[in-house]
Amino acid sequence: MVESAPLWAVFVLPLALALVASAAATVDVRSTGAGREVLRLLVKQRRIMRAADVPLVRLGTTLLPVAAILAAVVLPFGFRSVSDLPDGIVWFNAMEALAWAAVWLTGWGPNSTLSLVGGYRFLAQGLAYELPHMLAITTAALGAESLRVGAVVDAQAGLWFAVWMPAAFGIYLLSALAMAFWGPFDQPVGADAAGGAAVELSGVDRLLFLGGRWLLLVVAAAFAVPLFLGGGHGPLLPGWAWTALKTGAVLGLLLWLRRRMPTVRMERYVELAWVILTPLAVAQALVVAVVVLGR
């Protein structure tokens, strides 16, 4: 059973996430560390477009890291999470959908065409990935017969969900990239639109937005562990070590994927998502439902 962590965990959580995110960013960039870039952005002056809607931009850029941290509240580290809500999976999904608003506001606010294009792109991306994604996380909840993340972890004491729900696991990994609009799903901030939604951001705004994206990626990758990879369950090592190992492995896989693939355009992915992935996710949910009914 997942227990609630002591109160200080509330303050440690954002720090721990930021540490993992900056470590992942450093591994990904290799040559220049994330630290230098953070310092550079902190001292850089913010510039703003003419007739921009400044409150919207500020709201959008701040919302992104906030959404990532709020989503992480239900994330168990070993067998402890900051709060094991009774409907934690719904909470995670809702917080992750906040990112839609964040990117859209950031794209709309600066009064710039290319950032607007980036904002539009993320809405299209959301429509493409969200449907199979929700079916995939619902499948995990179905397998555990509970929306509580702790219960999902407990249900995998014997067998990981990734083993008997491979389709849902695969779809979750794809949507983890898509929700953090990162790697092959970076079209909303694509280089072809000169940086898309982030094109007009500078200084602290840029740091919050791009840093928030890394946080979101880490949270999305880490959430695959309690959902499909058995959370803290594993032989010999303590629960927290297993969580850390598995999260590292998922993050590593996502970093590798980005090197192997070009950016996926959403008008192509929508077709794949709706014609193949959604029926596949429904079929997977059906299999799991039959198994659950039968036991």
Binding site: R50, A51, N111, T113, V117, Y120, R121, P184, D186, Q187, G190, A191, D192, A193, A194, R258, R259, R260, M261, P262, T263, V264, R265, E267, R268
Partner: protein, 255 residues
């Protein structure tokens, strides 16, 4: 047209789905990441769909020499001694340069970087064997990438150019040209000036090959989504130096 904060408002016009949507006038270029330098496209966008595109080439300041990517062939036409290997090397570098830009626009940063490293090595005069070992694995990986094929096949299809007159087809054509030229980089024979073919086409005609690429652009861009439009521009990759260089003495040496 209304003006807000000194900026013109977007006017509304019919779109392809029978709606009336804001029509934004957006210039692209002359400088953008992974963009043919000097090219300006005046786009009318609705959402991120290109409704109309107009091409304008910013005239290059009086060039100091022949167009860089065509230089070996132009010099051979002017009667200078140029080896086949030198021309092959330049062709490799030109295709790698285009490839780097297209892969960059397609969002495959790692492969784009590899293409650029190989291009620089080719121009540095690295031994043939060395940059062959850089290029062959890259070409194989790009050819075999089914995601790249899935994302570029059918985009920017040119009527009448069959088969493979789309972005992916043009990409494969570069790879073919690249690998053919690769076999000749150490060839010491003299380049003949008959029917010179540069990286972008025949050089002994009145109209430079890039002009045909520019002429094809508006028709291919209309009705495409923004990212596809960027891919189409990158896959044609017109070289605006070719347009300016017509008046350079030496390029006219051959009748």
């Amino acid at each position: 047209m209304g003006v807000v904060a000194g900026l013109p408002m977007a006017e509304r016009a019919d779109d392809r789905d029978g709606l009336r949507l804001d029509r934004l006038h957006v210039p692209l270029g002359p400088a953008l990441p992974d963009w043919p330098a000097g090219l300006v496209l005046h786009l009318e966008l609705q959402g991120d769909v290109v409704q109309r595109a107009e091409v304008e080439a910013v005239p290059a300041p009086s060039p100091s020499g022949p167009a860089f990517w065509n230089e070996p062939w132009l010099r051979a036409m002017a009667g200078d001694p140029v080896t086949v290997g030198e021309a092959a090397r330049r062709r490799c570098a030109a295709h790698l340069d285009s490839l780097g830009r297209l892969l960059g626009v397609a969002g495959w940063r790692e492969a784009a970087t590899r293409a650029r490293v190989a291009r620089d090595r080719a121009l540095d005069g690295a031994p043939g064997a060395e940059f062959q070992s850089l290029i062959r694995p890259l070409a194989r990986r790009v050819r075999r990438s089914w995601t790249l094929r899935w994302l570029t096949a059918g985009v920017g299809e040119q009527a009448g150019v069959q088969p493979g007159g789309d972005v992916h087809g043009r990409l494969i054509a570069w790879l073919d040209g690249l690998e053919q030229a690769l076999d000749h980089v150490d060839d010491r024979d003299r380049l003949t000036a008959h029917h010179p073919v540069g990286p972008r086409g025949r050089l002994d005609t009145q109209v430079p090959p890039s002009q045909a690429l520019l002429d094809a652009l508006p028709g291919l861009l209309e009705g495409t989504e923004f990212a596809c439009a960027r891919l189409i521009v990158a896959s044609l990759d017109p070289d605006l130096d070719e347009l300016a260089v017509q008046h350079v003495p030496g390029a006219h040496g051959h009748g």
